[in-house]
Symmetry: D2
Subunit: 161 residues, 4 copies
């Protein structure tokens, strides 16, 4: 098939530049939506940072989010990365937009042990309908930070209401 959607019309390559153009209303919109995600509350996840095209979510590593060996369950890693990516996409959309996950793929790179899981989501390419995001997961223990997961996701925009 064709090598691709011409739908993608904005490439966002410089994360540092983005944070500046994010207004308070957009941040509020993200925070309000995040607060409605019951799964994030169940995981004790918090929105650590909301920038333009980039969102960071973190949660405590506890037995309640573990797999059989005490490390964070892959599904929990994915949950945090998925929300981070979805909200990263939302920051670049108009006010009446909502984001839904079309699909995602994750590679788990190391066991997620330690005290805190940090999930960073970032927009790779934003289009009118579809947005491609990348997520990186880190397990943090004191000053140490281990790269535990890398994710690619496709988000679709739809109108709210």
């Amino acid at each position: 098939m064709p090598a691709t959607p011409i739908d993608h019309d904005v490439e966002v390559a410089e994360p540092t530049r983005r944070a500046e153009r994010l207004d308070a209303a957009t941040v509020a919109r993200v925070r309000e939506s995040f607060a409605r995600q019951g799964a994030m509350a169940t995981l004790d996840a918090e929105l650590e940072d909301v920038g333009g095209g980039r969102v960071v979510i973190a949660l405590p590593i506890e037995p309640r989010v573990s797999q059989q060996d005490g490390f964070v369950h892959a599904g929990v890693v994915v949950a945090a990365l998925d929300s981070a990516c979805g909200y990263a996409a939302l920051t670049l959309m108009p006010d009446d937009a909502e984001v839904l996950t079309v699909e995602l793929k994750v590679n788990l790179l190391a066991p997620a042990g330690g005290s805190r899981l940090v999930a960073e989501g970032e927009v790779v390419r934003a289009g009118r309908t579809l947005t491609v995001c990348r997520g990186e997961g880190y397990a943090v223990q004191g000053s140490e930070r281990v790269h535990v997961a890398t994710l690619l996701a496709t988000m679709v925009r739809r109108r709210t209401g």
Copy 2:
């Protein structure tokens, strides 16, 4: 690159045949490992069925596992499918084996509403080191059953202890 691992040496194509060759010790091993997954307890997930190369996990759909619209969060869908696939792989391995997720990819097909999420994991190809699994997620409401997700995952075997 090469079109593939010669590692995969068992293709498991007929799920119905498998259940029969599953002994009590293997079922017990799966149940014991599942019981140690804190994340499954947090999600109120249950092992519904353990067969040879096929495992079913289910959980109640409640606000505590939701995304912002009340449907099951993609990460929760993935968590259930990942555990179902991992244990499906484990049923075909020797006693001293443990399964870890290398990577997974999921397509979300419909919003997961209703009363119960059912995650079916099945082995597509089992090798000495790597096992490929497929997962299908369904949202159940009364007699209705909606296909909400399809997943492909790669599992790696390692020795316990």
Copy 3:
């Protein structure tokens, strides 16, 4: 994020039923588009079957499509599966539609040796904008048929012209 696009509104679960509702114009549309894919000609690929929501493409296994060990290169396997899936999606769309690949993921299950590679693409869920497809690749040698790859892909519809 949300567990999904409500965009997907047609699930196509019974391939056998589909072929019947495929009209000659749609078949012609698929064949005409396929004929314009230079890459398919370069690989000596042929459209073996065009049904509603299901398309089969095949190509000869020769040194010119190999990786370093003489098996079919993963990219060639993907090329055939991608076209099969894209055209499977196209058969369920209106006349003015064109299909582009948003993303795809493939697991390689066994080395693709033998005389012929067969790629079957099938629609899992068709929506107004997005269609999810599954592809299965087989290496054929005489009466033997080895399952060499399983693929999931997301296709997007756009208008031609």
Copy 4:
């Protein structure tokens, strides 16, 4: 399931540092293997650069590698990225190793038009058995360079002979 293989024991985060430790024998091994990939010859692909944990492959964009609209076929983009990633993995392995692709996932970001397709493959995490790679595809036209694809792949090492 577990959040991961403890197999991954080398994270390679600084590509610039890597090139230096790549000896002539390893470069020769990569070039020799690449020369045996019939598919790369068929696509007129060339090894542009071989560094430690990083390989670049390029090919001319011509009608013979196109999809129906004249852009590079997704399968061809994947073929180049897969080989780039596989050889990137190979550069970090012992002499008797061979690399096979376990699985890969690609997001297509823009139509690949222009005169040349450049595929960069890079190791994200190298383990004894499994190596995770990232690939980025670019379509080049004169001084313009469009990001057309991003890929994640899992490679497995096996012994030659």
